[in-house]
Symmetry: C2
Subunit: 369 residues, 2 copies
């Protein structure tokens, strides 16, 4: 039983679909599937074709999304970035952009581990400085903090309409509501192995029309800073567009055929359910048990219903013992990952096939308490 | 029937292994498999642990290998590179390093499409200029040119022992002989979906001890040029080393579990066969048929036994017609990809489960001729 916050357990049909031979990546059978995947991703991102946005699927881990941001949305290298940090994965994104891409990154961190962003401070910062990019982590998988992306992006739009808004949705796409077009987001990146319910190995993202214009804009290449190749959207856009349009496939790099075929099934299955509501109600139910019945404390501060709905981060007195006990009966949960509290808490994934109320209750009642 | 030069058809056991649920990426079951994968890759690269080298497996397409070179082996951005170009994929690597990483790349191209590198000219260039890196494509999948890596690297060592030697082995690992330690190579990159017989989605490479020292060397980060994050070996090395050593896994990014599990089976199966000899004899046999019996011309110049043994690139008068006829009976071969002759030839893959003599003969006799 796999109850970590990703990779998650997949349905039988997703797994059966994964277990098939390769198809030609430029042939009609694969092209048709890839087209459907892109169209279904639009539904999950809530972004229409008419908006001029483009969904993207690349071979890679979720972390590859960091490079998609660094290599495409900061073409001059002189951009000013504001990063809202709510945990380990925000810090990783910061390291990527500041240390590796040498970008000017201002960080606004939540004051406490498990806390959110101070709206008043953010407002002041947006009024004081013009940022080219504002970046936030929808769900930080280390703390379970759920940023209110609608509210935060609204604030950015009203104070700094030119700023591009970037969202790390690795642990939110497929379990939290994301309204790419309505909220005016510019780049959202995620991965296959969490709430989408597919195997790991795919970086999944979407880019807005105005961000795409920035990426594709002709510029004097002599002045441009060094940038990687595999994450270059200048190279990928013609290929992905050819898959979405149908017709002759434009080759850039070989896509991971079987992963995309199984993602196709996972997306179809997800879209048949009320996935946002389902994750919300299961998470609320579980966390009420944890807090009310078991008298344990969540890492995430604030009301339980405002915490991430794809995982529960819970302080326990003996994390490694709990995990070892569970491993003994072949149940995997995850340990802490936030440096400040690493050895003090456990994380239970609430995504994927195995995350049923029954399974979760068993873990909680028999092993955590 | 899949007879393109990658992705190739896999054996039933590889496919069955692919079709399983995720495991925890930090758990002992996955860690054990990953360890075996790394050890078996050492056998295929012919590189011992004692040499201080490190094999690498990352989520990504073969193209990600380009970025592994650009982002790790050129830390100052002022390195001088010599690239031996033998076709489309060499040109892509050149574009990556010159246009994207802004590196100083000198190109020595084969004079004719399908031809190899002029050894005399190379010798002169190595005597004239000190290059930090010399890069070559073992097999260019667009032309079927097989570089004599042993000879070329020997030449580099004798004239310029400090130069690091980089080899694109995307279409050679698993079908051509590669002696990483003996030939003194420094970085060789490949992919899962060609002669290794696994599904696409994995970038597979190996780095030498002296190249690793360069990567891990402490330097003043202020002066360092921007570099990507996901391909940073500074980030990956502790993680991969922890998998090879066994014990507690050091997390960097989530590995594509199922792809690595199926690669494990593919490598075990490959190592049970005499894969270099098998590919060589099948390729020679097929190409003799093509040249002697069918009186067709290969794209690759020189004696047939010196051409790449994982594919056949053949001039035909009507490539699209041949491919359409074959598609009609569900056999996929590939078209041309080298810009100079794109519409004039076909490419038949000689790797993977479907590339039996019987199948190849059927394609040749019934459809190509």
């Amino acid at each position: 039983m796999l109850l970590i916050p990703g990779p998650v357990s997949c349905t039988d049909l997703v797994i059966d679909t994964l277990g098939q031979d390769s198809l030609t990546h430029t042939g009609p059978r694969f092209a048709e599937t890839f087209k459907r995947v892109l169209l279904n991703l639009r539904k999950i991102f809530n972004s229409s074709k008419e908006s001029g946005s483009l969904p993207l699927v690349l071979a890679g881990s979720g972390t590859l999304g960091f490079d998609l941001v660094g290599s495409n949305l900061c073409p001059t290298g002189k951009e000013k970035l504001l990063l809202l940090s709510t945990g380990y994965f925000s810090e990783e994104l910061c390291e990527c952009l500041r240390e590796f891409y040498k970008l000017d990154v201002t960080v606004l961190s939540s004051k406490q581990v498990g806390g959110g962003i101070d709206i008043v401070v953010l407002q002041e910062m947006l009024q004081e400085t013009k940022y080219d990019l504002v970046l936030m982590t929808h769900v930080d998988t280390s703390t379970g903090v759920l940023n209110d992306v609608e509210k935060l992006s609204g604030l950015v739009h009203s104070h700094s309409p030119e700023s591009l808004i970037v969202v790390d949705a690795v642990c939110s796409l497929g379990c939290e509501s994301i309204e790419f077009d309505k909220w005016g987001l510019d780049f959202v990146f995620s991965a296959s192995q969490k709430a989408l319910g597919a195997p790991p190995g795919l970086s999944i993202s979407i880019i807005s029309e105005r961000a795409l214009r920035l990426v594709l804009k002709e510029r004097n290449d002599v002045d441009a800073p060094p940038r990687p190749y595999f994450t270059s959207l200048r190279k990928w856009v013609p290929s992905i567009q050819s898959y979405e349009l149908g017709g002759k496939v434009h080759y850039f790099a070989t896509p991971p055929i079987q992963l995309i075929l199984s993602l196709d099934v996972a997306l179809k299955e997800l879209l048949e359910t009320d996935y946002v509501t389902n994750h919300l109600s299961r998470s609320n139910w579980l966390k009420m048990q944890v807090v009310e019945e078991m008298k344990l404390r969540l890492v995430t501060l604030g009301p339980v219903e405002k915490t991430a709905h794809g995982l529960a981060a819970i302080y326990v007195s003996n994390p490694s013992e709990v995990m070892k006990r569970l491993q003994g009966i072949d149940i995997d949960i995850a340990g802490g990952i936030h440096p400040a509290i690493r050895t003090k808490y456990i994380r239970i994934g609430l995504m994927g096939r195995d995350a049923t109320k029954e399974n979760l209750l068993k873990v909680l009642e028999d092993y955590v308490n």
